[in-house]
């Protein structure tokens, strides 16, 4: 019986230690974007996403204000440094009323889908000319859904149907607006 108790205690200790090692590994493996992508100095006189998208073409250097969001649970790609941003004039549900009537305001479900598509853009953080960093950027540098960002980068692709891919060079991360103050957190 004593041997059995000892065996159980030992195996519990080993399994606990294993978990500890795993969690340590997880922490050390956490990848992050190089610091040169982030800036704390917000560019001034920045246009909204739609205003920039209207006249942009592939290869243009652009800077615009947008909010992270546009897809339900999918604004950040889980395995790539890529995210979707929306024009600040699009209304997410939390800005429509003070009550929490929508669990996922970042999907802009009350907006006209066609208007929404025209107001969206994809931001990529490139490791080199062809590859995106192979991890999610959610949470990095404070990037979270519904927060304002100012993105400076190069237009990779654009079309009249709403496609707008920008390879980010610098990003400023602001805060999230609140009901009654749609531009709070935008730095304006």
């Amino acid at each position: 019986m004593k041997h059995l108790t000892l065996l159980i205690t030992l195996s519990l200790l080993v399994s606990c230690r294993g978990n500890e090692e795993q969690s340590q590994q997880k922490t050390t493996n956490k990848e992050t974007l190089p610091s040169h992508f982030f800036t704390t100095e917000r560019p001034v006189d920045v246009k909204d996403l739609v205003d920039v998208k209207m006249n942009a073409k592939a290869g243009d250097e652009v800077t615009f204000l947008a909010r992270i969001g546009g897809r339900k649970h999918g604004s950040f790609v889980p395995t790539l440094a890529m995210m979707i941003v929306a024009d600040p004039n699009l209304l997410s549900c939390e800005l429509m009323a003070c009550d929490d009537h929508c669990d996922t305001p970042e999907d802009y479900c009350c907006e006209d889908p066609k208007v929404l598509t025209q107001g969206l853009g994809t931001i990529r953080f490139m490791k080199n000319q062809t590859d995106t960093y192979p991890f999610s950027v959610e949470g990095l540098g404070g990037m979270e859904v519904l927060k304002y960002v100012v993105v400076a980068g190069k237009v990779h692709d654009i079309n009249a149907n709403g496609l707008f891919i920008v390879d980010a060079k610098k990003i400023w991360v602001g805060g999230a607006p609140a009901y009654g103050d749609n531009r709070a957190g935008s730095g304006e």
Binding site: K72, H73, M82, T132, I165
Partner: protein, 389 residues
């Protein structure tokens, strides 16, 4: 300890045949309900668990990740996906990119409208959904209003044997379709579906959008899930979202958990009713034997020996009920088809469920004997002997 012979317990069972029948009926009802509830859960889980593959990624309309039937994807997306993505499965020139329409259509079956899931597919679907095999008949031809029916769907359509469905016609939105084949899919959800050529179904339903595009990634050719995640995020103009088939069906199984729970709760509540009825009749049967128990004690049998004999008697009754219930479950319940919104699944009475049923019967026997045994043995011997029958 001197035990009472087993014959004593066996002979006692026949003292009141009507009471015996009632007790056996009660225990068989309880066990049968437990087995049905377990068969429902196992059957539904089995169907959803074998449906879908990690290597198949579904591209659905953004915002419709929960329901492929609600999803709308632009027709041109399929071509854009196959030209933009690398690393998907190909075989003999067929690309593993399957544009599909999933739609529920009511079909008139013997005067009753039954909702059946119809999937509009192109030949690529057979490369992507590799578990699908044609069991009888042949592939439906595009432009001929022909159908391939899942083996479980044939039962929904009212055919006893899947083969009986071959050559029959059904009406989909007033268009007549002929059944040319029956398919199986290792027990997956597809067996409850009907497949039609994509173009025919689009014409019948007057639809100009797809429900989803299923891409079979080939890891050996460099295909990855993140490619499709990236594609969906970068092509915001196509309004797509990516999810693996496995994740989709797991979410669906999660969605149906409350319904499973409701079925289990309903079965349990009815079972508790049957259980109390059974306990009552066992209690009445034993309680009237207080004097007999007192006599046994005067003959030198210990309380433990008498308890053991009464439990034997109760177990014999309950296990008879359990055996009857198991037989009914295996003969009549196993394989019974149930339709739900995503298709059809069958109640499965597995070896584990039969074991659960028998174990429940034995437990009922032991638990059912406790109260009457206390009632019989609590009195001192002189008082027991004076007790009225």
């Amino acid at each position: 300890m001197k035990l009472l012979p087993i014959e004593y317990a066996t002979r006692n069972l026949g003292r009141s045949p009507s009471r015996l029948i009632l007790t056996v009926f009660g225990s068989s009802l309880v066990v049968l309900l437990i087995m049905i509830a377990a068969g429902f859960m196992v059957g539904m889980d089995a169907t959803l668990n074998v449906s879908g593959s990690d290597k198949n990624i579904m591209l659905l309309g953004a915002g419709s990740l929960e329901s492929v039937e609600r999803s709308e994807v632009k027709m041109e997306s399929s071509g854009i996906v196959s030209s933009s993505i690398k690393g998907y499965k190909t075989k003999a020139g067929v690309e593993g990119v399957s544009p599909e329409v999933h739609i529920q259509i009511p079909i008139d079956i013997q005067g009753e409208d039954r909702l059946v899931l119809i999937r509009g597919v192109e030949p690529e679907a057979f490369l992507v959904h590799e578990r699908v095999e044609i069991e009888y008949g042949s592939l439906p031809r595009a432009g001929h209003n022909e159908l391939l029916v899942g083996s479980l769907a044939t039962r929904t359509l009212g055919y006893g044997k899947p083969k009986d469905a071959l050559g029959k016609t059904i009406l989909l939105d007033d268009d007549s379709y002929a059944i040319t084949g029956v398919m199986v899919a290792c027990g997956g959800i597809i067996e409850g579906e009907i497949w039609a050529p994509l173009s025919d179904l689009l014409v019948t339903t007057q639809r100009d959008t797809l429900s989803c595009i299923v891409v079979a990634i080939d890891e050996e050719s460099g295909g990855t899930r993140s490619q499709l995640d990236g594609f969906a995020a970068s092509r915001v103009d196509l309004e797509l979202a990516a999810i693996s088939e496995r994740e989709y069906y797991a979410a669906l199984a999660e969605f149906y958990k409350p319904i499973q729970l409701m079925v289990v709760m309903t079965c349990l509540m009815i079972a508790i009713g049957g259980l109390l009825g059974g306990f009552n009749s066992t209690y009445a049967a034993f309680a009237s034997r207080v004097r007999e128990v007192g006599t046994l004690q005067t003959l030198g049998y210990t309380r433990s020996a008498i308890t053991f004999s009464l439990i034997q008697e109760s177990i014999l009754t309950a296990s008879t009920g359990a055996i009857i219930a198991s037989t009914i479950a295996l003969v009549a319940i196993d394989g019974y088809t149930i339709r739900f919104s995503m298709g059809t699944f069958t109640l499965l009475i597995t070896t584990e469920i039969v074991t659960l049923g028998i174990a429940s019967g034995l437990a009922l026997g032991v638990i059912g004997a406790i109260a009457p045994v206390i009632r019989c043995l609590r009195l001192p011997i002189p008082q027991s002997l004076r007790a009225s029958e």
